[in-house]
C-alpha cells in the first residue's frame, strides 16, 4: 500500500490549487474534462438543443443521409438521429454515472465493514467476492440483465451488482492497510487534536485509489450499458439508446453507414472523456509514478 501521498500536507484550498497546477501540466486531462463538459451540457440540454422530437416519425425521409436538416441523417422510420443521439445520451451517461457511484459507495461500505469486522465474516465475504469476480463480468452482467428482464433499470442494476465485488475487495484492502500503517500506531500516542488530523490524512490517502477507480469506472459503465443495449437488453424502443441504435443500424450497415457510425462515435467520445479524466485523476493521486 502506498505510503505518504502527495496530499498529506496542506488544506483543501492547497489541494485544489495543486490540482489546478497539475491539470495545466496535462493537456490530455484537460481535453477529457472539456469533452465531459460538452457532452454533459449537450445531453442535459437535449430538450433545447435537439432540432426535432426524438420520437417523431417521418416516413417520407426515412434513412436519409446526413444533411443540413438532419445532421446525422435519419433512421428507418424517419426519426432524426442527431436528436436521438442527444436524448439517448441521457440513458448512457446517466447509467454510467449512477453505476459508478452506486457500486463504489455500496461496495466500499461493504468492504470497509468486512475489513473492520475481520475474522470469519471477513473470510467468507472475501471468498464470495473472489468467486463472483472470477466469472467474466460481461457474461455475468448480460445473464443477470437478461434474467431480470430487458429494461433500462434492470440493466443499470445488473451492471452495478456485478461491479460491487470489485469495490468490496478494494475497500477492504485499503482498510486493512490503514490498520497496519506505522503512523496510525504512532497516532495513538499523540494527543486528541493531532490524532484527528492524522486520521483525516489517512482517510484521504486510503480513499484515493477508490476515487481513481470510480472515475475510471464511469467510462467502463457507459461501454457496458451500450453493450447491453446492443444485444437488446437495456432501454427498450422507442426510447433512444446508443447501443441499441448501433444494433439497429447494423441492418442498414453498408448503405446507411451513418446510422451505426454516429451513435457509436458518441459512445466512444463520451467514454474517452471520462477515461481521460480518470487517468488524470490517477496521475495526480498516485505518487509512485512521479519521477524521482
Amino acid at each position: 500500500m502506498a505510503g505518504v501521498s502527495v496530499l498529506v500536507q496542506g488544506s483543501w484550498r492547497d489541494t485544489l490549487s495543486r490540482f489546478a497546477y497539475q491539470l495545466k501540466k496535462s493537456p490530455m486531462t484537460m481535453l477529457g474534462l472539456g469533452i465531459i463538459v460538452v457532452v454533459l451540457a449537450a445531453v442535459a440540454g437535449a430538450g433545447w438543443l435537439a432540432p426535432y422530437d426524438p420520437n417523431q416519425i417521418g416516413l417520407v425521409h426515412r434513412l436519409a443521409p446526413p444533411s443540413a436538416q438532419h445532421w446525422f441523417g435519419t433512421d428507418e422510420v424517419g426519426r432524426d438521429i442527431f436528436s436521438r443521439v442527444l436524448f439517448g445520451g441521457r440513458q448512457s451517461v446517466g447509467v454510467g454515472l449512477f453505476v459508478a457511484f452506486a457500486s463504489s459507495i455500496v461496495g466500499s461500505a461493504a468492504g470497509c465493514f468486512s475489513g473492520v469486522m475481520g475474522g470469519r465474516v471477513d473470510s467468507i465475504v472475501m471468498r464470495a467476492m473472489d468467486v463472483v469476480l472470477s466469472v467474466p463480468s460481461l457474461v455475468l452482467t448480460m445473464a443477470l440483465a437478461a434474467a431480470l428482464g430487458p429494461s433500462l433499470f434492470n440493466a443499470m442494476l445488473a451492471i452495478t451488482i456485478v461491479r460491487i465485488p470489485f469495490y468490496v475487495r478494494l475497500a477492504r484492502g485499503q482498510t486493512l492497510g490503514i490498520r497496519e500503517m506505522a503512523y496510525v500506531k504512532a497516532a495513538r500516542t499523540f494527543g486528541a487534536t493531532r490524532r484527528h488530523i492524522v486520521s483525516w490524512h489517512i482517510a484521504r490517502n486510503a480513499l484515493s485509489p477508490i476515487i481513481v477507480q470510480t472515475t475510471l469506472d464511469i467510462g467502463n459503465a457507459i461501454l457496458m450499458a451500450a453493450a447491453l443495449g446492443f444485444i437488446g437488453l437495456g432501454a427498450q424502443q422507442p426510447t433512444a439508446e446508443w447501443g441499441a441504435m448501433v444494433a439497429t443500424g447494423r441492418n442498414y450497415l453498408l448503405d446507411q453507414w451513418w446510422y451505426t457510425v454516429f451513435p457509436g462515435f458518441a459512445i466512444l467520445i463520451t467514454a474517452m472523456g471520462f477515461n481521460l479524466l480518470g487517468d488524470g485523476v490517477r496521475d495526480m493521486l498516485d505518487p509512485r509514478l512521479k519521477v524521482k
Binding site: 490530455m28 471468498r127 472470477s134 466469472v135 467474466p136 448480460m142 453498408l254 451505426t260
Partner: protein
C-alpha cells in the same frame, strides 16, 4: 518445491469457483419468469406433454434438489442440454471453443506486437509528443466499443474497399481444413492447404484487429507503467552512471524487468479476450463461443449460459494458475538459489 503450495491453493480455488459460479448462474437462471418446460415443449404442446417434460427435466423438484443434481452432473462433466440447439452444452462449447481461442490468440499477438513497443516508447519519451500520441491511442482503444469498431471496419474495408471479407471464418463454399487443432490457420498449414490458409487469414484480420485494438491500449499502458517504474529504479541509474547507452539500458535491462510483472496482465488479457470476443464474434458472424453465448442469452437458454460461465471461469482460474507458475519460474528472485 516452491510451487506446490500455490498449485494446491489454486486447485482448491478452482473447485470453489466452479461451485460458486454454478450457484450464481443457477440463481440467475431461476429469476426468469416463464416456464422452460413450456419453451422446450413448444407452443402447441398439450399441458400433459409440458408436465411430462417438466418431470423429465426434474423441474418439478424443489430448487435445492435441482441444484444438487446439477452439481453432481457437473462433477461428471455434464453441463446439461441446450434448450436452443438441443445438444449437450459441453458438445456445443467444445465445437465452438477453438474458433474463439484462435481469434483471441491472434488478437493477443497483434496487441502485444504493437503494444509493447508503443509502451516502451511512451515510457522512455515520457510526456513528449510520442508519449501523448501513444496515450491517445491507448485511451481511444479502451474507450472504443468493440462492436462498433467491428462494424465500422466492415463498412470501410469490406463495404467500400472490398479488401477483406465481411464475416465468417472462410468463404462460403470453401471446405475447412482437417480438424487437427481446430485452428484453421494451423490446420491448413499442417495439411499443406495453402489457399485455405490465406483465405482463413483474410477472414481473421478484421475481427482480430477489432478485438486487439482494445487490448492494444491496455497492453501499452501496462508496459508504460511497468517501464516507468523500472526506469525510476536505482539499477537504471547505475547503468547510466557506467556509461551504458540509453538503448541498451532500456531494452536489455529495464524491459525484461518490466515484462515480468506484466506477464500477469498479459495473461489476464488472454482471459479477457476469450470472453471479450463475445460481441466481436456476433458482429463478424464468427462461429465461436461468444456468438453462441449471446444467442443463448437472447433466447434465454440458461443451461447454455450457465455452461459457458462455468467453463470460462474454469479456464480463467486455470489460466491464473499457469500465469502464477510462469511468473515464479521467470523471476529468479522467487525461483531461489541458482
Amino acid at each position: 518445491m516452491s510451487w506446490l503450495p500455490i498449485v494446491k491453493k489454486r486447485l482448491f480455488s478452482l473447485v470453489l469457483v466452479v461451485i460458486g459460479v454454478s450457484l450464481i448462474t443457477f440463481v440467475i437462471s431461476h429469476l426468469i419468469p416463464g416456464d422452460p418446460a413450456r419453451l422446450i415443449a413448444g407452443e402447441r404442446a398439450t399441458p400433459a406433454i409440458v408436465a411430462h417434460i417438466r418431470h423429465q427435466l426434474g423441474l418439478d423438484l424443489p430448487l435445492y434438489e435441482q441444484y444438487w443434481h446439477y452439481l453432481v452432473r457437473l462433477a461428471h462433466g455434464d453441463l446439461g442440454m441446450s434448450i436452443r440447439t438441443h445438444r449437450p452444452v459441453l458438445q456445443d462449447i467444445r465445437a465452438f471453443f477453438p474458433a474463439t481461442l484462435e481469434l483471441a490468440l491472434v488478437a493477443l499477438f497483434l496487441a502485444t506486437l504493437i503494444g509493447i513497443p508503443l509502451g516502451v516508447l511512451s515510457a522512455v519519451y515520457r510526456n513528449k509528443t510520442v508519449d501523448q500520441v501513444v496515450r491517445t491511442i491507448s485511451v481511444t482503444g479502451i474507450s472504443t466499443p468493440a462492436f462498433w469498431l467491428g462494424l465500422g471496419l466492415i463498412v470501410v474495408f469490406y463495404g467500400r474497399l472490398g479488401w477483406f471479407p465481411g464475416g465468417g471464418r472462410l468463404d462460403q463454399g470453401l471446405a475447412p481444413p482437417a480438424d487437427i487443432t481446430g485452428f484453421y490457420l494451423v490446420d491448413s498449414l499442417l495439411t499443406g492447404n495453402i489457399p485455405v490458409f490465406f483465405n482463413a487469414l483474410k477472414h481473421i484480420v478484421l475481427p482480430a484487429f477489432t478485438l486487439g485494438f482494445v487490448h492494444l491500449g491496455i497492453v501499452a499502458r501496462q508496459i508504460r507503467s511497468a517501464m516507468l517504474e523500472q526506469l525510476g529504479e536505482d539499477y537504471v541509474r547505475t547503468a547510466r552512471a557506467f556509461g551504458l547507452s540509453r538503448m541498451t539500458v532500456v531494452v536489455h535491462h529495464a524491459l525484461p524487468n518490466a515484462l515480468i510483472p506484466s506477464i500477469t496482465v498479459l495473461g489476464l488479457a488472454l482471459g479477457d479476450l476469450l470472453y471479450g470476443a463475445v460481441l466481436t464474434e456476433t458482429v463478424f458472424g464468427w462461429p465461436g463461443m461468444g456468438a453462441y453465448v449471446v444467442e443463448s442469452i437472447q433466447a434465454l437458454d440458461f443451461p447454455a449460459v450457465m455452461g459457458f460461465a462455468v467453463v470460462v471461469s474454469f479456464v480463467y482460474v486455470l489460466l491464473n494458475l499457469v500465469i502464477d507458475l510462469l511468473y515464479r519460474w521467470i523471476d529468479p528472485r522467487i525461483t531461489g538459489v541458482s
